[in-house]
Symmetry: C2
Subunit: 127 residues, 2 copies
Amino acid sequence: MLSKNQQIIFDIIEKAKEPIKAYSILFNVQKKGIKAPLQVYRALDKLVEIGKIHKIESRNSFVACKNSNCQISKATAFSICESCEEVSEISDNKLSKYLKSFQNKAGMKFKKYNLEFFGLCKKCSVK
Amino acid sequence: MLSKNQQIIFDIIEKAKEPIKAYSILFNVQKKGIKAPLQVYRALDKLVEIGKIHKIESRNSFVACKNSNCQISKATAFSICESCEEVSEISDNKLSKYLKSFQNKAGMKFKKYNLEFFGLCKKCSVK
DNA sequence: TTAATTATTGTTATATTATAACATTATGTA
DNA sequence: TACATAATGTTATAATATAACAATAATTAA
């Protein structure tokens, strides 16, 4: 169950068709009484933790999870268009199986991964 | 050929055994006459571009490239210990082959990827 | 159902990370 | 030389994120 602020902020992120930044969220929710960055960041932290949203690390922005496979944000993959900045979550069972089973030679036990692919989306590559 | 500032900053990063942040680099190079953040960021941008260093996106920090396989920073993978924050670059031919050949269903042509694994390193997992 | 605990909220201030804009100097190249 | 390109220096400021403290709401255990 999401709290009031968490719900407000999740709704904004879900409605946005593109990744959205913390301060842009803040701007959008000020009319709803959320006035301070920290209120936004706290909700974001929680939403990331429970897997409702993901952070696109290379862009400092947030998207709603579109994928039932990335259990609680433990395994995420995105494609990012370097021209239009469109981001989409990759849902590919072979890929996620491969990465989950990947074990580094150093013997580290992985709990989580994040993968970001960069290139040109279909639209931008014909331009 | 690296320029003066690029060389100074690359040397700092290479000597550091751990990822280092921009303002920590700035602090380290002030005695060498580099006074402003922008001087550091410009050198960092260039060093990333030519593949001498990589940015650890989830940590906003930088490491020297240890891997001849990530041609000009196009294909990078790291393991990150969530306890001690040790970062090491993963050099695994099968992994990089797999990811380079990965093509998203959306038809995007990838030019680059960055993968970050999180977990506990050997040392931290026995603690 | 009270008491204790934990999660959430509100608020101000501040820390951290990064870039804009402009002027100058150095380096490479036709 | 003249031209182009890359690198530098500098001031100011933008953008991203957290510290610290106080209050309130929700959950759980006795």
